[in-house]
């Protein structure tokens, strides 16, 4: 059933008894045209665009847990496209353009809010680098503007503008089209839209092995039985190395915990997203009123979805430095997701040496913003068996050829 004001009124009169489930819970079929491993935002978006853009509807999305239970439900929901290098800028901008029409496209309210993303700078090097980045971004026809210290103060009056602190704020770069989206809604919206096009979403279905016939994939062994398909796309974030390993492929990826936390809910106080590389934190306020905060990864390899306390302590120190008025807020919840970090801090959306096996991974600490764009280019790569112009640079061969896309500054927080 379409979500619309008319159906809302009709169901209101019917005491909301007629709403169907958002998506089915089917039994796995024996065979599909494409299997997507991983029911997070990127995987579901891939399935949706396979069905919508390429007419491939006999698709299964297999998820070992529940939809959006991994990084899709664990991130800090920031969306932006202010990347330095052309390859990244075009890919993330494609994604941002998709975000801008996605609520209507999916007929699902993603609560996408273009409230702006403000990156602060705290020293002269920051300032110069910021100008370079703003100019590069604008050359690619993406919005980015410089805010002077006074403009920053006017835009976010609660920031600590004292010039005598350890890291005084000297200015900032603002992408007004950036902002936030509701992360769970992204998973559910893509799932519902894909399901309506015929995609089977198989939850509690963990992949145990990838079946091969010589150099070609033929299917997967799962906890819900054997499922066959000539094409398999792995979109499993932190478990990328594990799943690619099942297909005999080594990746340049290491998995780390990335922690985030939320405060108790308070009245609207922060209307934009603030990021700072030098004091190392990013903050925004959710629609529920909680301040949502994140920073850098825990340095060690881990699959445990939890990190160490000192990382949070550093991050809280940074928040209090930027916003002294937040010092008395209590923190409500803390968690971690397992992020798949690439040596050049750029993703891999690529074919592999194994025929019919495709990987989409390495998004590291910044995958959420790319959800629709990632799915869009990955669907193209799988359907056409060749990358789209937007993701051909993000191939797996770049680690041999040396054509790395070094975006270590891209997160606006060091990692």
């Amino acid at each position: 059933m379409q979500y619309s004001i008319f159906n809302l009124i009709r169901e209101g009169i019917n005491k909301h008894k007629g709403w169907p489930a958002a998506f089915r819970h089917p039994e796995p079929k024996e065979r599909y045209d494409v299997i997507i491993i991983g029911g997070g935002g990127h995987g579901l978006a891939t399935a949706y665009y396979l069905a919508k853009e390429h007419g491939i509807r006999n698709v299964a999305v297999v998820e070992k847990g529940w939809l959006g239970g991994g990084n899709t439900g664990r991130n800090t929901t920031v969306v932006r496209s202010n990347y330095l290098w052309d390859q990244s800028a075009f890919l993330y901008e494609k994604s941002l353009k998709l975000w801008e029409g996605l609520t209507q496209d999916l007929n699902y309210n993603l609560m996408f809010s273009q409230r702006g993303v403000l990156n602060l700078c705290h020293n002269l090097h920051d300032l110069r680098e910021l100008h370079r980045r703003i100019n590069a971004i604008r050359l690619n026809d993406i919005d980015s503007e410089y805010l002077t210290r006074d403009q920053v103060k006017a835009f976010v009056p609660i920031l600590n503008m004292d010039p005598n602190i350890r890291y005084p704020i000297l200015g900032g770069s603002l992408q007004r089209r950036g902002g936030n989206a509701r992360h769970d809604a992204v998973a559910w919206g893509f799932a519902r839209a894909a399901d309506r096009l015929g995609v089977d979403i198989l939850q509690n279905c963990e992949v145990m092995a990838i079946l091969r016939d010589g150099a070609k994939v033929t299917g997967i062994e799962t906890t819900r039985g054997t499922i066959r398909a000539p094409k398999i796309g792995a979109v499993v974030a932190g478990h990328a190395s594990v799943v690619a390993g099942m297909a005999g492929i080594r990746l340049p990826i290491e998995s780390h915990p990335l922690q985030a936390l939320v405060s108790e809910p308070i009245k609207p106080i922060l209307h934009t997203v603030i990021m700072s590389g030098a004091v190392h934190v990013y903050v925004s306020q959710s629609d529920k009123g909680e301040l949502v905060m994140g920073a850098g990864i825990d340095t060690f390899n881990s699959y445990a979805q939890r990190g160490s306390l000192q990382v949070i302590e550093d991050q809280m120190a940074a928040v209090v430095e930027l916003f002294p008025m937040f010092s008395r807020l209590r923190m409500m919840r803390q968690w971690a997701g397992i992020v798949d970090v690439c040596p050049d801090a750029s993703p891999i959306v690529s074919k592999t040496p194994v025929e019919g096996f495709y990987v989409n991974c390495g998004w590291g600490t910044g995958g959420f913003k790319a959800t629709p764009g990632s799915g869009w280019v990955f669907a193209h790569t799988i359907a056409q068996d060749r990358p789209h112009r937007l993701n051909e640079a993000f191939n797996i061969e770049r680690f041999s050829t040396g054509e790395l896309i070094d975006e270590h500054g891209a997160a606006a927080v060091a990692h």
Binding site: H239, S241, S255, F300, N301
Partner: protein, 93 residues
Amino acid sequence: MHLIACPWCGPRDEVEYAYGGEGHIARPARPEALSDGAYADYLFMRRNPKGVHAERWVHAAGCRRWFNVLRDTVSHRILAVYKMGEPRPEAGP
């Protein structure tokens, strides 16, 4: 939070250490003789196991010496600590 026993200083909190990534990756004796693929394998490709991981740590805020740790990446349990140059021990209990 890890409690790591430095081979020289004894058990200390994780904050005193810095992480050095996967251990036992030997620099090729003749890198110029390697193919691009083999060099990429040495430089970039990692095991990244879900389970026991042999890795390097340095006691940055202590004796500043490097050593190896055998650690489970799911439970965060430290199974063994051993000095640089020593072979990887069998995974402990």
